[in-house]
Symmetry: C2
Subunit: 452 residues, 2 copies
C-alpha cells in the first residue's frame, strides 16, 4: 500500500535541501530533513556527493539513522555500518526482517557478527542463524522467517479468529502457510480464499496443494524466474526434508531482478552492479584502473599483430588508414551476438538442444552482413585510394572478421561460463581482443600477400 509521496516530490525535496545546504541555516536544513520519510531520505543520500552525505548524516538523529540504513543500497550501507558500534547494530536488527538482518550481518566483520548475534534474544538468534546457514545468492538467503502458519484441520472461522489476535500481518502476506505438527509444508491458504469461502470450510478442503514450495538451495536467479513466470507475491521456502523455513516476498525478488540486470550492464564496463554513483575519487580510481590495465594488455596484443606487418604498412600507408575499420566492424558485430547470447543465457533460453541452431543463424547473419558491408567498403576504398587491390583486401578481411565475430560472440559466453568466468564481465573484453587480432591479421596478412 502507498506510504510516501510521489517521485517528483522527492526530487523537489532534494533540490530544496541542496539549496538550503548552500545558503540556508543548519536549523532550516534539519527541519527539512525531519519531514522526509526514510525512503525519501535514502534517495537524497544516494543522490548526494560525499560531503553533503556526511552533513546530512550528522544532522539527522540516531533513530532516523536506524530507519534510514536499511533503505540504502549495499555499497553506501556498508560504509555507515562500519561506523556503528555493536549496541547500535543490535538495536538496528530489532526492527528488521530476518533476510534484511542477514544481509547486514553478511556485510560486517565476523567478530562483530558474533557479538550482534550474542546480544539478540534466543528466538531471534535461532531464526537469523537458520537463514545465515544458506549462501547469500540462494533462496535460503532471501528467506524471511516471519510467517503465519495454520493447521489443515481448522475451519476458516477459526483461522479468522486466530488472525484477529494479531495486531498486524507480516508485510506482503498474501497467503497463510499450511503445515503439520512437525512444521512440514502441506500447502497454502491464500487470503483471498479465506475471505471468499464459507467459514465452516476446513483449511484442508480449500488449501492450494498444486504448489511446489521453493527449495532453500535454489539459486536466486531461478527464484526470480519462478516469481516472474507465476506472478507470485510470496512463496514458501522449505529445507531438504520439506520443513518450512519461511517465505520469500516479491520486494526482495525485485531487488534480485534489478541487480541481475544491472550486473550485465555494469559488468560490460568492468563495474560492479552495486557501484555508488557518488563514490569518492579515492574509491573510484583503483576500481577503474584495474579494468584499464586489463584493456591495455589486450590492446598491446593487437598492436603486436600490427607490428608483424611494419614492412607492408611502410610500402602501402593506406593500410594504416583502413585497418581500424576492419577491427571496429568485427567488434560491433561480435558484441551484438554476445549481447543476444548473454541475455538468452540469463533468461534460460539457451541449452545444448538449440545452441547449434543459434550458432548457425549467427554465422548466416554474419556472412550476409559481412558481404553487404564488405561490398560497400570495397567501393569506398577503391574510390578513396584508387587501388582495387585494397578494395578486395578490405572486403575479404571484413567477411573473415564478421564470421569470426559471430562464432566468438556465440561461443565465448558459453565457454567462459563453463570455465566459471563471468561472461558479463569478461565477455566483451575477450571478444574485442579476438576481433582486433583477427581483423588486423587478416587485413595486413592479405595485404602482405598481394603487395609482396
Amino acid at each position: 500500500m502507498p506510504k510516501s509521496n510521489s517521485h517528483s516530490s522527492t526530487e523537489k525535496h532534494f533540490g530544496h535541501i541542496h539549496n538550503l545546504l548552500q545558503s540556508g541555516t543548519l536549523k532550516q536544513v534539519k527541519h527539512s530533513l525531519r519531514v522526509l520519510t526514510p525512503v525519501q531520505l535514502a534517495r537524497v543520500i544516494e543522490s548526494s556527493p560525499p560531503h553533503t552525505r556526511s552533513v546530512i548524516w550528522e544532522l539527522i538523529g540516531k533513530s532516523a539513522r536506524t530507519e534510514l540504513i536499511e533503505e540504502l543500497p549495499e555499497d553506501i550501507q556498508s560504509f555507515y555500518l562500519a561506523q556503528m558500534n555493536t549496541e547500535d547494530l543490535v538495536e538496528l536488527t530489532e526492527t528488521l526482517e530476518t533476510d534484511d538482518i542477514v544481509d547486514i550481518l553478511q556485510n560486517l566483520p565476523d567478530q562483530i557478527t558474533q557479538q550482534v548475534l550474542e546480544a539478540m534474544s534466543d528466538q531471534d538468534r535461532e531464526r537469523v542463524t537458520a537463514v545465515l546457514a544458506y549462501p547469500e545468492n540462494t533462496a535460503g538467503g532471501l528467506t524471511n522467517t516471519d510467517t503465519i502458519t495454520v493447521r489443515p484441520k481448522f475451519t476458516l472461522d477459526v483461522v479468522l479468529r486466530y488472525l484477529r489476535r494479531h495486531n498486524e500481518l507480516p508485510p506482503s502476506t498474501d497467503s497463510l502457510i499450511v503445515v503439520n505438527k512437525k512444521d512440514m509444508y502441506l500447502g497454502l491458504l491464500p487470503l483471498a480464499t479465506l475471505l471468499t469461502k464459507p467459514g465452516d470450510t476446513t483449511v484442508r478442503e480449500v488449501m492450494v496443494t498444486d504448489a511446489n514450495p521453493i527449495s532453500a538451495d535454489l539459486d536466486e536467479s531461478d527464484v526470480a524466474k519462478l516469481f516472474e513466470q507465476n506472478d507470485w507475491v510470496s512463496a514458501p521456502v522449505v529445507d531438504e526434508q520439506g520443513k518450512l523455513i519461511g517465505r520469500i516476498t516479491i520486494d526482495d525478488v525485485v531487488d534480485v531482478i534489478r541487480e541481475t540486470a544491472d550486473h550485465s550492464f555494469m559488468g560490460a564496463a568492468g563495474l560492479d552492479e552495486e557501484e555508488d554513483t557518488f563514490a569518492t575519487t579515492a574509491r573510484t580510481t583503483p576500481r577503474r584502473a584495474l579494468w584499464l590495465g586489463i584493456n591495455l594488455i589486450t590492446a598491446l596484443l593487437a598492436s603486436s599483430v600490427i607490428n608483424l606487418f611494419q614492412d607492408t604498412i611502410d610500402k602501402v600507408v593506406a593500410l594504416a588508414v583502413l585497418m581500424p575499420i576492419v577491427a571496429s566492424m568485427g567488434g560491433v558485430a561480435g558484441s551484438q551476438t554476445l549481447t543476444v547470447v548473454i541475455r538468452g543465457m540469463a533468461l534460460g533460453h539457451i541449452s545444448r538442444n538449440n545452441l547449434g541452431w543459434l550458432m548457425s543463424r549467427e554465422v548466416r547473419v554474419g556472412i550476409i552482413n559481412g558481404l553487404l558491408w564488405a561490398l560497400v567498403m570495397a567501393g569506398i576504398a577503391g574510390l578513396w585510394f584508387g587501388d582495387w587491390r585494397i578494395s578486395f583486401i578490405i572486403a575479404a578481411a571484413m567477411i573473415i572478421n564478421l564470421i569470426t565475430a559471430a562464432l566468438a560472440g556465440a561461443l565465448l559466453p558459453i565457454g567462459l561460463k563453463a570455465m566459471r568466468i563471468d561472461p558479463a564481465l569478461a565477455g566483451g573484453v575477450t571478444l574485442t581482443t579476438i576481433t582486433d587480432v583477427v581483423g588486423f591479421f587478416a587485413f595486413l596478412g592479405l595485404a602482405t600477400y598481394f603487395y609482396a
Copy 2:
C-alpha cells in the same frame, strides 16, 4: 501462490520434448505438451528455433494457444496474434486482465483493434477504452480496472460479508480501495487490516490515507521506482480529477523493471529489449545491418583523421602500431563513465545539483588513471621502439584522450537526453567516435609536430 513446477523441471521438459521431436512419434510429443502449464509451454516456445515453434504451435489445441499467448514475450506474441482472426482474438481477450488486453490491442492493426472492441460486451469495452486512452509507457497503460472498492461508512463485518459474495478476488489483491459515491479515491483498506481489526470498526476509522494514489499520466519508470522504494504489491491509479481508474499490480511492474534494465544492456549493441533470441535470419539480418552501417560511418570518420597524417606514418611506421592503443584506452575509460552516468540517470540520482561534482570526479579519475597508464605505456613504447620521443607522444595523447573520455562520458548522456535521443542506444557509438577521433588526432598530431 505457487502454481507450477520448479525451474529445473521446466528445462527437463524442454529436453524431453526436443528429443521426442527428433525421434519420437507426433502422438508422444502431443502427450508431453499436454501436461505442461501455459507458463512452461511459453518457455519451451521461447527456447525453440522457428521450425520447432511451428510444430509445437500446430500440435497444441486452440484453447491451449489462447492460454499460452499471454505468457509469450511481445516479439513472439505479435507474430502469433497476426495469424489469429477477429473471433479468436475476442475470445482471447475474454480471459485476460484489462492491461494485458490493452497490451495485445496495441500490437494489432487499428482496424482489427476496432473490430475486437466492437465485439466486446459494453462493460468490457468501456474499461478497455479507458485504459487505451493512456500511452503504453504511463501508469494508465499499466492499469488493471478489475478492483474491489468499498465505501468508508461500512463496518469491517459488512465488508467481510460483501467479500464472501465473491467467488474469488482479483489477482494480487492486497488492499481494497476506498472510494466515495462519485468513485473519488479516499484511501486503502489493506486485507491485513480487515483481518486483524475488530469487526465493528468502520472502514473510515482504519483506512490508510497517508497514501498518494498514482496519477495515470506518471511515466512507467517512475511507477517502478515508487513500487521498488515502498515495497508495494499493488497501488491505486487515479485520473486528473482524483477519480479511481483501477490499480497497478507488482507483476506488471516487474515486467517494466526487467524491460528497462534490458533496454540499457541490449541498447548498447543497437538491439531491442524485446529481441527474440531465436528470431529467423531474415528478421535478424536487417536489424543488425543498420547498426553496422552506423558504425561504418563512425569508423570512416576515424580513418579520415588517420588519413590526414599519412606522411607522418610513412616516416615513423611505429605510429601505426601504437595508435590503436590510444583510441582503445579512451574508449574503455569513456564507456566506464558513460555506464555510471546512464545508470545514475535511470535511478534518478543525477540532477543539476550534483552533476558538477560528478563531472569533476570523473575528470580527476581520468587524470590519475591517465597519468598512471601513460607512464606504464611510455615505458613499454620506449623499450619496444628504443625512441623516447614516441614514449612522450603516446603518454601525452593518452592523458588527453582519457580526460576527453571522462568529459564525453559524463556530458553525452545528458546532452543526448536533452535532444530526446536515447542515451542507452546512441551513447556508446557516439562516445567511441569521439575517443577514436580525439585519440588518433592527439597521437598523430603530436607525432607530426615532433617528427617534422
